[in-house]
């Protein structure tokens, strides 16, 4: 079958396609897909990791927000959830996992320890994950309630909605 261009006099109305297609922006479609199918990689090192299990399971059910498919390979995930205390000895491991994740990727810092070091104001604890990797959302709490966790997911979805492929910058590029 050969493709023949329509003469310029023919408009879409003449084709009578009805609602067979919609017009939109690429950003809107891509962001819609990205925000509703986040694939989390849980980096749970302390009690916030236990809280994450509650968020994922049926009681709070993060799958209502499309982020239920937990992956334990950074290559298959696009949302790094840092849930717990990170020591300097652990930091290079976390950094490497972040580096292994494919673009686009987002980072959720869950709880007081990941956000600021928490009450571990000492020689061995990283005082906030943003020293190691760029963080998109912080969740307060020690550990946070699942509601706070879910609010962070929703806030992150809103943030993803504002992103633009045209303006996207590679991290570390």
């Amino acid at each position: 079958m050969t493709f023949k261009p329509l003469p310029p006099s023919v408009t879409s109305a003449d084709l009578n396609l009805g609602d067979a297609f919609v017009t939109t922006r690429v950003d809107a479609v891509v962001n819609w897909g990205r925000r509703n199918s986040l694939w989390p990689f849980p980096f749970g090192t302390a009690c916030c990791g236990i809280e994450f299990m509650g968020v994922v399971s049926s009681m709070y059910d993060v799958s209502r927000f499309g982020a239920e498919l937990v992956r334990f390979s950074p290559r298959q995930a696009d949302l790094l959830i840092i849930a717990g205390t990170i020591t300097y000895k652990m930091a290079p491991v976390l950094q490497r996992i972040y580096d292994q994740m494919c673009e686009p990727k987002w980072v959720l810092s869950v709880g007081a320890c990941a956000t600021s070091g928490g009450f571990y104001d000492c020689y061995c604890t990283v005082p906030g994950m943003d020293e190691i990797v760029p963080v998109d959302m912080y969740v307060a709490g020690c550990p946070p309630r699942p509601e706070a966790f879910l609010e962070a997911i929703v806030s992150l979805q809103k943030k993803i909605d504002r992103e633009s492929m045209a303006e996207q910058k590679m991290v570390g590029a």
Partner: protein
């Protein structure tokens, strides 16, 4: 069984009070009881006698301190009322036969913080001594693997010393491969390391940890 101890102290039986036990131990070993420890039984020992005393405590039928429960280092810098040597090491032993506990304390001057290792007597002392070395800076002569245990390998100083600024953080640039201990463990099961991946690394292939074991 040392006939000496058993013959001299036939009255050693389970559940002695700490004072009775202290009397017997002091009579046997000629050590001094630490007056500062009012709750428990702590004996002060010179470093030179550590191995001899601990061997006797473990092996003599009269004592049978078969468990090393804990091992701690102390930094007495700015400790109220302390005017002795700066560092201390405390060994806590328990006899599961008699249900007795005793602590042995060794005081160390700042310029000579070395004690003989107990890894030959108690296997558990391995990691305990590594922790005390890591955090306090006491060295254990004869230790089979005198590396840091908790802090990373680029850490400088000993964080639980009182003159270490406790908020001084030290970044780690590359994680600590523990493959040497893994290889020792595999060797204890009878495995031999054939290849650590040096050929790939030399050829510029940067995938690490791809060695083979048989």
């Amino acid at each position: 069984m040392s006939s000496h101890a058993a013959a001299a102290y036939p009255a050693i039986k389970p559940g002695l009070s700490k004072d009775v036990l202290a009397e017997a131990l002091i009579a046997r070993f000629g050590l001094v009881r630490d007056a500062r420890d009012a709750w428990d039984l702590t004996l002060l020992a010179p470093r030179e006698r550590l191995i001899e005393v601990v061997t006797a405590l473990r092996d003599d039928a009269a004592w049978q301190f078969d468990t090393l429960i804990d091992l701690a280092g102390i930094d007495y810098l700015s400790y109220p009322g302390h005017d002795g040597p700066r560092f201390g090491v405390i060994y806590l032993f328990k006899s599961t036969v008699f249900n007795h506990r005793v602590k042995i304390k060794i005081l160390l001057e700042e310029d000579d913080v070395a004690v003989p290792t107990l890894t030959g007597l108690y296997k558990i002392a391995d990691w305990m001594e590594r922790e005390v070395f890591d955090q306090i800076g006491v060295t254990f002569t004869g230790h089979p693997n005198p590396k840091r245990l908790l802090n990373h390998h680029e850490f400088v100083g000993h964080p639980l010393r009182k003159d270490y600024p406790c908020q001084k953080r030290q970044k780690l640039s590359m994680n600590d491969p523990l493959i040497d201990q893994m290889e020792a463990r595999l060797a204890s099961f009878g495995y031999t390391v054939l290849d650590r991946g040096e050929a790939q690394i030399a050829a510029g292939i940067t995938v690490k940890g791809e060695g083979s074991v048989k």
